[in-house]
């Protein structure tokens, strides 16, 4: 596995120590109506995630991970509590403002990549620019170069391997330079070799100061994060800060 330099590790540690929280949850709940009454998908969750921190969210199926991803990704709003992202109280925002805020603040990395099959790798990256503001081909090429895929820019997703598709997905998440990267099982569909490549890219992004919130079932991937937030039956259990940048060890 690729080593992250000592300088990068020290930079990440320094940022974490002095970092203001980029995500703050205070008594956040999300309740869904059901036939038998209501379902508490997330119940009174309170925690913070600092800028440049790498946090793993773990928990079994049905524990509320998707609900938490929805809320942190500004795809949904809490039914109770305060959710503050990058200093803005998200829980008070309406549909249009939330869309704008999401485009600015969150970059998504999906387990199933979710590339548009009829657009090239480059155009898939530019799609995020399109919904954010304006497209810029050279920036999109630079993002692909950053994940080592500049030579595959014109290829369709069907012509790329799973690992390459995930790297396009990461480039798409990075293109608008959002403060938060929200990765939902980023290596769940990859073989061991590609898992390593994606883990290295995430570690490098973290070392360069990106805040990464990663939902994972994989203990190895979770171990790469500085901290784990465990979910069970909609309840949150926070773990203390773990070693920074496990990849370097």
């Amino acid at each position: 596995m690729k080593m992250v330099s000592e300088a990068q590790r020290q930079h990440a540690e320094a940022m974490l120590e002095g970092a203001a929280p980029v995500i703050e949850l205070l008594g956040v709940s999300r309740v869904y109506p059901s036939r038998s009454g209501v379902v508490h998908a997330l119940n009174d969750a309170s925690f913070t995630i600092g800028a440049s921190e790498w946090v793993a969210i773990t928990g079994p199926s049905g524990s509320g991970k998707s609900t938490l991803v929805n809320l942190l990704g500004c795809l949904d709003t809490p039914t109770a509590g305060t959710l503050r992202i990058d200093g803005t109280e998200v829980h008070t925002m309406g549909g249009g403002d939330l869309d704008r805020f999401r485009a600015d603040k969150v970059g998504f990395i999906f387990q199933q990549f979710h590339l548009i099959p009829y657009l090239s790798a480059l155009e898939n990256v530019m799609l995020a620019q399109y919904f954010h503001s304006m497209t810029n081909e050279s920036d999109a090429r630079a993002a692909l170069d950053r994940v080592g895929l500049s030579h595959r820019a014109e290829h369709l997703p069907s012509e790329l391997s799973g690992g390459e598709q995930q790297r396009v997905c990461i480039a798409r998440a990075l293109i608008n330079d959002p403060p938060i990267l929200l990765a939902d099982e980023p290596t769940g569909n990859l073989d061991a070799a590609n898992q390593r490549i994606v883990a290295e890219i995430l570690a490098e992004l973290h070392a360069n100061g990106h805040t990464i919130v990663m939902v994972t079932h994989d203990p190895e991937m979770a171990a790469l994060a500085q901290r784990k937030i465990a979910l069970s039956h909609g309840k949150v259990f926070c773990h203390p800060v773990s070693n920074v940048v496990k990849l370097s060890q």
Binding site: D76, G95, L122, L127, Q129, F131, E154, D184
Partner: protein, 371 residues
């Protein structure tokens, strides 16, 4: 599909739309086919509906006169005939007729009628006639009247002691009073009997409204004449035209509704199967209105292409139906195009926006996880 995209990349709603349609060829074709059928059926029915009055009135005109004018006292003068023709309109037919009772060579009284055969041939083209007379000394014998004649080739008739011998050209069969008459050229009739026409049979183009208007005008301008409609024909025509209109209107609505449901199902399925694209775009920051615009524009593009193809197909269909049923072509009507376009755009918009509204309630994160 090409293995590589173009070297100059760009992203726009239109470009994504065209790529998306091309990528989902089968589904796009299915939606396009449904919208084309919808437009074709609407075009054909609306074209026929628009042309129905003219077609039916034309059919009814072949049944003969729909107005009869009688002189209450003396013969109708040439000036009066001209006035009647002017009131009836340029596309009307007016046949002056003079009647008398003569005696055959078998000494049987028979009704003889002096007519202009050229006009009668147009006015009563439903009559079954062997050969129409073309010479001043030729006559047309009614089926029953022929039985009162000893020699059909040399028809001798006598009126007030004046005998006239004419040549029969054939028999006339209508199943009505005409079968008991002998028809001869009007000029021959006038020279022989000395009586001018006192009946005008008129064929007024148009429906009951037009006929009534002509009747009113005749009664106003020529009060010395007695004008009346051929009741069975005018009332029957009016009733059939109204009922056919209602039937066509119902058929248009029913078929449009059926096709709309089919289009709705096809387009809705097309939108719903792309719910993950919807969730992805949402995650990338697309607003609800951008997503609606995407699905709406796609549906509207398909609808517009479908209307162009459907209009051509439907016009062809209406033309063929017109030929098959009425013997005359129904020409394409550009005036119905906006209505067909509006109808199909409306169906497509409903089909696109309804499922898009349903998608609004779904959880993007759950969709993107494949749940």
């Amino acid at each position: 599909m090409s293995t590589t995209a173009t070297s100059k990349a760009n992203i726009s709603l239109g470009r994504m739309l065209l790529r998306s349609l091309a990528h989902r060829r089968a589904r796009s074709f299915s939606a396009l086919a449904a919208l084309t059928v919808s437009a074709a059926v609407s075009t054909a029915l609306l074209t026929l509906y628009n042309d129905l009055d003219a077609k039916l009135h034309h059919e009814f005109r072949s049944f003969g006169a729909n107005v009869v004018v009688n002189s209450t006292s003396v013969a109708i003068s040439p000036d009066e005939i001209l006035q009647v023709q002017n009131i009836a309109g340029t596309n009307s037919l007016t046949a002056p007729i003079a009647y008398a009772i003569a005696e055959t060579d078998r000494k049987t009284p028979v009704v003889v009628a002096g007519v202009d055969f050229a006009t009668m041939q147009k006015l009563d083209n439903w009559w079954k006639v062997g050969t129409w007379p073309g010479q001043p000394d030729q006559v047309l014998l009614g089926q029953r009247a022929a039985g009162f004649i000893a020699n059909e080739k040399e028809v001798t008739l006598t009126y007030a002691g004046k005998a006239l011998t004419l040549h029969g050209t054939g028999r006339l069969s209508t199943g009505g009073d005409e079968d008991s008459r002998i028809y001869l050229p009007l000029a021959t009739f006038e020279n022989w009997i000395g009586v001018q026409p006192h009946v005008l049979e008129i064929q007024v183009p148009g429906g009951a409204g037009r006929v009534n208007a002509v009747l009113s005008q005749l009664q106003h301008d020529l009060p010395q004449l007695h004008a009346e409609p051929v009741r069975q024909l005018v009332a029957g025509e009016s009733s059939i035209v109204d009922k056919t209109h209602a039937l066509m209107y119902g058929a248009v609505l029913l078929i449009a509704l059926t096709v709309a449901v089919s289009v709705l199902a096809t387009l809705s399925a097309s939108v719903l199967e792309r719910r993950r694209d919807f969730a992805l775009m949402k995650a990338l920051g697309a607003s609800q209105s951008q997503l609606f615009a995407h699905f709406l524009l796609e549906a509207l593009v398909l609808a517009t292409v479908g209307v162009v193809a459907g209009y051509l197909l439907g016009s062809g269909l209406a033309w063929a139906i017109g030929i098959a049923n009425f013997g005359t072509a129904t020409w394409p009507k550009l005036s119905i195009l906006p209505l067909v376009l509006l109808l199909n755009l409306g169906i497509a918009a409903c089909a696109a926006l309804f499922p898009a509204r349903v998608l609004r309630g779904l959880q993007p994160a759950a969709l993107l996880k494949g749940e």
